[in-house]
């Protein structure tokens, strides 16, 4: 334990987009549109979870999906098959969305007639967490194969998220993933975080998640 050195190579990260994010939230409030910022690692299951969420809520809410990707449109094509409006944002190599990029996307989209817009952020646990996109709530997906230690290693994203979906619970038997530990570690970062285990592939837990999200949208609109 004492055999290694710790070197600090700190650099300041600038995030002066808070004002723009607040302005965007005010505009969304006036329009009664709820923006959810969905973050995760690559491959944690954002798009599959979104397809299930759309299925569960499209009778209740007018939904739009903004897919942020570096340069493919694989996910927008998938979402397009669900019958809700989808738009693809190309970040041109950028590792996250900021409030201004999100605003550009929303303006191209036209949000007046939408109750819920989900921004599927770039797959990355680090940079997206640094930038307030203007979303009303932040959600994160952590999948079982990634391991229960992630709140120790990527603290900020767990701090800024209102809800944590633990996805791929169908493969729990094949991985050393401790649900109690992940809960403990995530609550160390954010005592108020909601934790909802799901399996986007089978649909397990999607009802609880959709109920939570619907309540948030209704609270925002009232």
């Amino acid at each position: 334990m004492a055999g290694f050195q710790v070197i600090e190579v700190k650099e300041s990260i600038f995030a002066e987009n808070d004002r723009q994010a607040d302005a965007l939230r005010q505009k969304l409030k006036a329009e009664k549109t709820f923006l959810l910022n969905l973050m995760s690692s690559p491959g944690a299951g954002k798009t599959t979870t979104l397809c299930r969420t759309i299925e569960a809520l499209k009778g209740e809410l007018r939904i739009g999906i903004m897919e942020a990707d570096i340069d493919s449109d694989v996910d927008a094509r998938t979402i397009d098959g669900t019958g809700v409006r989808a738009i693809q944002l190309h970040t041109g190599g950028m590792c996250h969305l900021d409030a201004d990029m999100t605003k550009q996307g929303l303006e191209a989209f036209g949000t007046e007639n939408l109750d819920l817009v989900v921004l599927e952020n770039v797959g990355n646990l680090v940079c997206p967490a640094e930038f307030d996109t203007g979303a009303v709530k932040n959600a994160m997906i952590l999948s079982v194969p990634e391991g229960h230690d992630k709140p120790l290693k990527y603290p900020l994203i767990f701090t800024v998220c209102d809800v944590l979906l633990i996805n791929k619970i169908d493969v729990l038997p094949y991985f050393d993933f401790d649900m109690e530990k992940v809960t403990e570690y995530a609550r160390m970062r954010n005592p108020n975080i909601q934790i909802i285990p799901i399996c986007a592939k089978t649909g397990e837990g999607i009802g609880a998640w959709a109920d939570w999200l619907l309540q948030q949208v209704r609270d925002w609109q009232s």
Copy 2:
């Protein structure tokens, strides 16, 4: 397919650290130290793979490990248990290492008596790929649960990597992961990429990987 718009929100990404990276490589060449930059998503298995790699090569090579993490030292503690030299770099929130940060770490380490230094980069498929760290070779781990479509969505990292380890092959039966497709997609990005399937948990494939790495180190030193 025609139902969604594509919006370009390009921003330029600056990477003028190439000169520093080249200078660092020259210094390493003179010292006969091989630096490997290891990248992956969070939870793909970098640390477990490193432990196996150390086991396989510590009789042949003098090895040092630099763990780059945002602010934990979980991984350095794990590596410390393997008996090789380990150092923890704290990036202070930064999502990647650049050549200068790598140089600071190597200087603190003292590389004169090391044949192989592995830099375990921050878990992230986007930003680390943008910055030449000064490494001799770049390696990437993609784990089966992340899905075979990743070269489509995160093109740059597959382009800059010399070798791709496909980890967690023990869980192939439980995931829709197509080895032929991932090979095809990865080679679209980089026709020369070496692809080695492994399971760091069981040790499967580690021999082939260790052989490849040992050859690279010997070539660099000769």
